[in-house]
Subunit: 196 residues, 2 copies
């Protein structure tokens, strides 16, 4: 299994945002929906062996985590607007202690970054994608990697502490610093080329 | 210089489409705007050494080609909606014999696929991205590559004939068939790693 965790530091946590304004009023939700696209889409298929966690930390009800399970996903289209609508549906759900399902393969909870990383560290090896890490082509990715990325700002010191506390390896995907969704494409390509 | 040519077989060629419906009414324009994003965006910069040609073949006034010149681009944001608006502005321009500029770095013309490929074949080596090509990591990419991709359907036989007639090498970016925008990310990564 491949997993991706993307932190949206200012991303909305309630469903009252406009689909016409996901890059503005929704706290750069556009960045996160592009990560959904690159985590799951093959040319004519969905990556069923992938799970994506969007950790939303802005808006009126932080934190919330929206989880996408590739093996169960339905109704996912590649465009930003329709994916934003799926996330909005999830954020309209009343959330209690556990996870709530909002549509097939999409779940929402009150999990924080530390909650998500803590839970996933028992399922795979943490991989912190950052410019000054070791080259991804040098090998050594864990068999069930959990790739962790940030949005348009870096992880906070506290988030880094949590992640490195779980033994994350620091990996770079190439000579340039790229957007999160582009990093996901390259991470997938690397895994596709060296199946466990 | 790196160049990308993406064919939109059903993509609109006039500016009378709705920004809320780029995946439907605009003939899968969503696919092409995602290619704009991956052709130009670095984390905090624009790739100035890149040019992108969107060859639009649907709608009421085909063909049209919208050219993006990285070295001149302004007002480009990563989200699909705002890029679609830039393309719509270009398609609203009255076009005669040559190219018209619609905003900094964005040009529109009546050039066909054959026109674009013919002109670019004098500037660099053609690279046809396709599943059954040679692995991109095997090396041998030309120093000024012109990567040619299609939208959600394959190039037509006639388009293939034009492309192969200009000596295109056939290259695969990995074990799976991917969306065009994802292919562009990987092509850039490969070029970033082996500068000419």
């Amino acid at each position: 299994m491949r997993r991706f965790v993307v932190v949206g530091h200012k991303a909305v946590t309630t469903g009252d945002f406009k689909l016409d304004d996901i890059a503005g009023g929704a706290g750069r939700l556009d960045i996160l929906v592009r990560c959904v696209n690159s985590a799951f889409f093959l040319s004519h298929d969905i990556r069923k062996d992938t799970e994506l966690f969007l950790v939303l930390q802005g808006g009126c009800d932080p934190p919330k985590t929206v989880r996408f399970a590739g093996s169960e996903l339905r109704y996912l289209n590649p465009d930003e607007r329709s994916t934003s609508a799926l996330i909005r549906n999830a954020l309209m759900k009343r959330v209690g202690e556990g996870e709530e399902r909002s549509s097939p393969g999409i779940y929402v909870s009150k999990a924080s970054f530390a909650d998500v990383i803590g839970a996933l560290s028992e399922k795979g090896g943490m991989v912190y994608l950052r410019e000054d890490g070791a080259d991804v082509r040098a090998g050594g990715l864990p068999p069930d990697p959990v790739f962790v990325l940030s949005d348009n700002v870096d992880l906070t010191e506290e988030e880094e502490r949590v992640l490195l506390g779980h033994g994350a390896m620091e990996v770079s995907i190439g000579p340039h610093s790229l957007h999160g969704d582009h990093c996901i494409v390259i991470a997938h390509n690397e895994m596709d080329r060296s199946p466990p």
